[in-house]
């Protein structure tokens, strides 16, 4: 277990910057997630921590030990790969035992540790199978087992759930959380799925183009996004963004607009905050409904209002029809404001 510190960590491929200088501390025992679209540098960062790639500049510390010059095997990290990277020529037992064998542990001890991990992950019956005889979820468990068996200082996970089907992904997500609570190993998790990041992590860092856009708890990132990118990346369904002349007619926007009169603004409001009613109410917007998405617990309504697409939530049984007019309530206190040029957050205060 270790506290991890990055100091000006930087990576380029040729002239192409992949990771802008990164300064960040991840606390001992924390479940920390880097989330961002593909190509944002998050997998590269994991490779730098594991030692699979070398940085151009900067340092990585585990507690007080500088590790960025060490060979991968000397860093005492364990990694779960997106493809699982199980050794195809070895059985499940041999796969899980592999890191211990490399470290020349006694045979009896290896057997005991493998048994312990196999029991914890429900793999005891599969120990003599080869990876190709396993289902996706089972392979995932073996990959976790191979990482867990060592009790490493740091756990690295590179999109470990993205090859699973939706249902299994939710199951494994819960299991990951349970495992982290049981073992309390500092875990760095990488995903492009913001929902996964939110559900698992104590803190998340939203990455884009090699830069951390915001680093905070999931709740802070959701409720108080640092900029337009974060606001759009986090939250499902994605946030409504209203621009152009229409911003003037968004309820509660007037004082903001007066303050930033010579700067074009974008307004954002989360669909979950926008209530949709079949009948008009005070302060609602009249919106032409273009699409309805019932999910059982919610009824999502997509409409056009002054040339802008806007999505809101109605009660599951609400009588709302496509082509008709519905009434969207945009609560002023839930509206985020961004500078149209930079995407930076513009605060009210």
């Amino acid at each position: 277990m270790a506290r991890i510190r990055f100091e000006g960590l930087e990576k380029r491929y040729g002239a192409q910057p992949v990771l802008a200088p990164l300064d960040l501390v991840i606390e001992d025992g924390e479940f920390f997630t880097f989330v961002g679209p593909s190509g944002c540098g998050k997998s590269t960062l994991l490779h730098l921590i594991a030692g699979i790639e070398a940085p151009q500049a900067g340092a990585i510390y585990f507690d007080h030990d500088r590790v960025d010059q060490l060979a991968p095997g000397a860093r005492d990290v364990a990694m779960v790969f997106q493809s699982y990277a199980l050794y195809p020529h070895l059985t499940v037992r041999e796969n899980i035992a592999f890191p211990l064998r490399v470290r020349r542990l006694a045979r009896a001890e290896i057997g005991r540790e493998v048994g312990r991990v196999a029991d914890a992950l429900g793999l005891a019956a599969l120990l003599d199978r080869k990876p190709r005889e396993l289902s996706g979820g089972q392979r995932q468990r073996v990959a976790l087992g191979r990482a867990l068996v060592r009790r490493p200082r740091v756990f690295l996970m590179d999109e470990p759930l993205s090859n699973l089907d939706a249902r299994l992904r939710l199951e494994m997500r819960e299991e990951l959380k349970r495992l982290h609570e049981a073992y309390r190993v500092t875990t760095i998790y990488v995903t492009h799925d913001q929902e996964e990041a939110m559900a698992l992590s104590q803190r998340i860092a939203v990455l884009s183009a090699g830069r951390v856009q915001q680093c905070a708890t999931p709740q802070q990132v959701y409720a108080d996004p640092a900029n337009l990118f974060v606001a759009q990346f986090v939250g499902s369904p994605p946030i409504n963004v209203i621009g152009g002349d229409a911003v003037r007619d968004v309820p509660g926007a007037a004082p903001l607009l007066a303050k930033h009169a010579n700067e074009p603004l974008l307004l954002g409001v989360r669909p979950a905050d926008v209530e949709v009613y079949p009948a008009p109410r005070a302060g609602t917007l009249a919106v032409e409904v273009t699409l309805i998405e019932p999910t059982g617990s919610d009824l999502w309504v997509v409409g056009r209002w002054r040339g802008q697409r806007i999505k809101g939530r109605a009660a599951p049984g609400a009588r709302i029809e496509r082509g008709a007019t519905a009434h969207f309530n945009v609560p002023p206190e839930r509206v985020y404001c961004f500078a149209a040029g930079t995407g930076g957050r513009v605060r009210v205060d």
Partner: protein, 270 residues
């Protein structure tokens, strides 16, 4: 109609490939009297006298043993040197990689005849004239480029994450090579090894130049130098050729599937 055409085409190709060999088989089984006349195409009476003659009249076993030793050692050496080289070139960051690859390719394009004299002088100076060691060294250098290229393609087709996983799990680069990369590349090793073996088994030019006696003479040279007093001993030559072709055919048949896997590695996902 199409099936008939296809069958005819296949028969043509198979016949083209196998006819010389079948001719040798037929010749090796013919009585001496029938050797120089055409009909009969096939022996009227099967005889094994030529086979008996090659083992009785010549140091043929010694020559076969030489060939086996040379081919086996060449194969092992070429794989022992070629596999780590191919691994480094395909999976590690090697400085001057392009220059090394160009060098490997250039070596494989050297016409052997151009190097015979200098190699002869060098080997003679080393006191290796007429030894199997001379052949093993020469064959290894000449078969390495092919082995390296073949194995490189094979290693490059392995998922890089497997190597990364092995490193993170605590292996050194060489440990990851021996524990993970090599076992997975077994079909590639087999293919490269077999091609090297066949090359060394069949090579004639160097073997003729660097050997003088039965101490190091290999099969192709041995057969070519079969002594005939008044005539060329066609029957014995054919018998010897058939005898030494059989092991190669058997090897190829046994490993056929693995070789095809090895040669098409990466083209089709395993």
């Amino acid at each position: 109609m199409r099936r008939a055409l296809r069958a005819a085409g296949m028969a043509l190709v198979i016949g083209y490939c196998l006819a010389p060999f079948l001719w040798q088989v037929a010749t090796s089984l013919k009585p001496a009297a029938e050797l120089m006349s055409l009909p009969p195409l096939f022996p009227t009476r099967l005889t094994f006298e030529h086979y008996a003659a090659i083992f009785a009249g010549h140091p043929f076993l010694r020559i076969i043993a030489n060939s086996a030793l040379v081919a086996a050692c060449t194969t092992l050496l070429a794989l022992a040197v070629g596999a780590p080289a191919a691994f480094a070139l395909s999976m590690l960051q090697v400085r001057g990689r392009v220059a090394i690859l160009a060098g490997v390719l250039a070596i494989s394009m050297f016409p052997p005849i151009a190097t015979v004299s200098p190699l002869f002088l060098a080997l003679a100076a080393l006191g290796l004239h007429d030894t199997v060691a001379a052949l093993i060294i020469t064959y290894t250098t000449f078969s390495l480029p092919l082995a390296v290229w073949l194995l490189m393609n094979f290693f490059a087709a392995l998922p890089r994450e497997l190597y990364a996983a092995a490193r993170v799990d605590g292996c050194t680069a060489f440990g990851a090579f021996t524990r993970v990369v090599l076992p997975l590349a077994a079909p590639g090793l087999l293919a490269a090894g077999l091609l090297t073996f066949i090359f060394a088994w069949n090579e004639f030019l160097f073997a003729l130049t660097f050997t003088a006696t039965e101490a190091a003479r290999t099969i192709p040279v041995g057969i070519a130098l079969f002594p005939g007093l008044h005539e060329v001993p066609y029957g014995e030559i054919a018998a010897a050729a058939v005898t030494v072709t059989l092991p190669v055919v058997v090897l190829a048949l046994v490993f056929q599937r693995r070789i095809v896997e090895g040669l098409t590695a990466g083209a089709v996902k395993g």
